[in-house]
Symmetry: C2
């Protein structure tokens, strides 16, 4: 079973292992790329995390996550900017290929969605010089519209690519099938992103029917209704050949299983349901 | 407290009352418009439902619902077409101003979203002559993308208006704040629909944070994050002055309360959070 072209977002096994254990487990299964989360890095320490990843020769396909720019006051927005600069530095230390941004939703008490979107754009503009100096691409991750209020007020590829275009060099998108599979403009958005060199990551999982929880019920590839190979064909048609990164939040299923079983299943399903060649 | 410009979708009180009781309660509260569901009409009988609505002089701002066109085989799709023709006849008997269509998602076992969309278009084309003959406008209701798999594969205003344009006369949209509030192209979509005379209904409720269930946790107006007055301003700017219709599915809150309390609250919140003039 092949593992080339496969990356594991370490949120997928966050309940089973710390970062060191997760990287060791990935290496044991022949997986050569990971995407760690900030809390996982903080728990082990940045230096030690860098060492573990280097010791295992892991490619780091992204670092999760920056963002969360909107805030009710200027101090809150500045705190977010400062924190995002630290995230950029950590991503650079880890050798990550991009910093994934979950940009944030409405500030507490607000109903002003256009205002929140302006805060995101202002925040990204403020950190962009730091990101460029660090050579760290910023990947806007459009999130499913069901997260517009509380996680990300950028919810379609087109909207996110418009923002990337306005911000310019060093900004692209992370395309997660879970968030955008429903979009009637999906094919157009992927083609546009690819033509502009703005695809920075391709995340995979599946959409379960029924979906029992808005946040923590993502499915393993093949267990839902997303046509993952058709999606990947759209991605590869643009010339993007980067890894498919498995990111599954699953409180009642995959997070409760044995970690090795999860990784074995990721590999099996990657081969059966996702990999084109 | 004013009730002009307010309609009650009878799903809002479906756990408290049957159609007769619900219409009587609306009348008692000075409400002059309702939107009944097919199962409510079936439970009382069509003739008796017509009589109750006429006896109370109720305007019928819509009839819920037709749609659900995709099916795994031709017999299933034909059954849906036949059922939609019956729904058109019922809507006409009730004097409804439109038949609301929840168009349907993926057929069982399918991952072919473009194919499902074609089935919707074919199904609507098949019932349209019957709808036109009955003088019954068909209102495509774009549903929130979280329902793309199992309820409606039309999920944005733009996508739904493109379909309405292709089908032509007698087709428009039902615009429910819950489903489209997040859309970055919302203002453009509403303006386009209004300019073409395609706004057939305006449904209201609110988006709770957190939302605890994908289907049955809609909020009362004012309890969530949707800027309902700003939304209504976009609607009225097009010249549409039809009622704002309250449609709340709320298994754990509003469906468990006293029906008169629900209607009183609808009226209060309509005045406080929704009505412009």
């Amino acid at each position: 079973m092949r593992t080339d072209g496969l990356s594991i977002n370490l949120a997928t096994v966050r309940q089973q292992w710390n970062l060191r254990e997760a990287v060791e487990a990935c290496a044991r299964h022949g997986i050569t790329a990971v995407d760690p989360w900030r809390d996982q890095v903080a728990a082990l320490g940045l230096d030690e995390s860098v060492r573990v990843i280097e010791d295992h020769g892991m490619r780091v396909t992204g670092y999760c996550r920056g963002g969360m720019f909107p805030a009710a006051d200027a101090a809150g927005r500045q705190a977010a900017i400062d924190d995002n600069k630290r995230a950029i530095d950590e991503a650079a230390a880890l050798g990550a290929e991009c910093l994934v941004l979950v940009v944030g939703g409405l500030p507490a008490g607000s109903r002003d969605l256009p205002g929140a979107r302006r805060m995101v754009e202002d925040g990204m503009a403020a950190i962009l010089p730091h990101a460029r100096a660090a050579g760290m691409p910023l990947a806007i991750e459009p999130l499913h519209p069901m997260y517009a209020a509380d996680r990300a007020c950028f919810n379609t590829l087109a909207q996110s690519l418009d923002l990337a275009d306005r911000l310019g060099e060093g900004v692209g998108v992370a395309i997660d099938v879970y968030h955008v599979w429903w979009d009637p403009e999906l094919a157009h958005g992927i083609a546009r992103a690819g033509a502009a060199g703005q695809i920075l990551a391709h995340h995979i999982c599946d959409w379960r029917v029924p979906t029992r929880d808005l946040l923590l019920d993502r499915g393993m590839m093949g267990d839902g209704v997303i046509d993952l190979k058709a999606f990947r064909r759209l991605i590869e048609a643009t010339g993007f050949t980067g890894p498919q990164e498995v990111e599954i939040f699953s409180a009642e299923d995959w997070w409760k299983r044995d970690g090795d079983e999860v990784l074995r299943t990721c590999i099996e399903r990657y081969n059966a349901a996702c990999r084109l060649s």
